[in-house]
Symmetry: C2
Subunit: 101 residues, 2 copies
């Protein structure tokens, strides 16, 4: 249940890298990476993919963390979050079927 930020921070540290180094190699401002790691800012989808490649993390895994962060952030202040999620699930299933036809 890790957040995107926790994951990329863990990988950075286990590789013994400084923000400065990651920033240079990935060509992303280090202030932003610092904010990603602490969940203060959300990366774009392209950045998520870039991090997956950089740290050799399975892209799907990182994507799940990132998207679930977004959904959680969007609903945490709302009532009935469980209901909202289950209705959303039904709608997604319906939409996915519809598109294939």
């Amino acid at each position: 249940m890790d957040s995107f930020g926790e994951i990329i921070k863990r990988f950075r540290e286990s590789n013994g890298l400084f923000l400065r180094q990651v920033a240079a190699k990935m060509d992303i401002d280090q202030a932003i990476i610092s904010k990603f790691e602490r969940g203060e800012r959300k990366p774009t989808k392209e950045q998520v993919q870039k991090f997956a490649r950089f740290y050799k993390i399975e892209e799907e895994k990182l994507m799940i963390a990132w998207l679930s962060d977004k959904v959680a952030y969007e609903l945490v202040e709302e009532k009935n979050h469980y209901k909202i999620l289950s209705v959303a699930e039904q709608k997604i299933r319906f939409l996915k079927i519809k598109k294939k036809v």
Copy 2:
């Protein structure tokens, strides 16, 4: 499992109102309401509340439809949507507990 748009359209029609009339009373451009009804645009939270009051729909019900639309729209193109939703659910639960402390 209705979308926000389907709900407000149903209420408008069952009240025998034209878009023009709703638009005038609610002070929202009728083109926008037309787009809401067909899901082409998403209303703001304030507008959702306004529609709930206008049609005397239970606000929670409309809010659930609106938020689940947003989540569904956000995830429909993604893989692993079920996994994403279940991780999001855990994260929300965790965050809600954390806030109360």
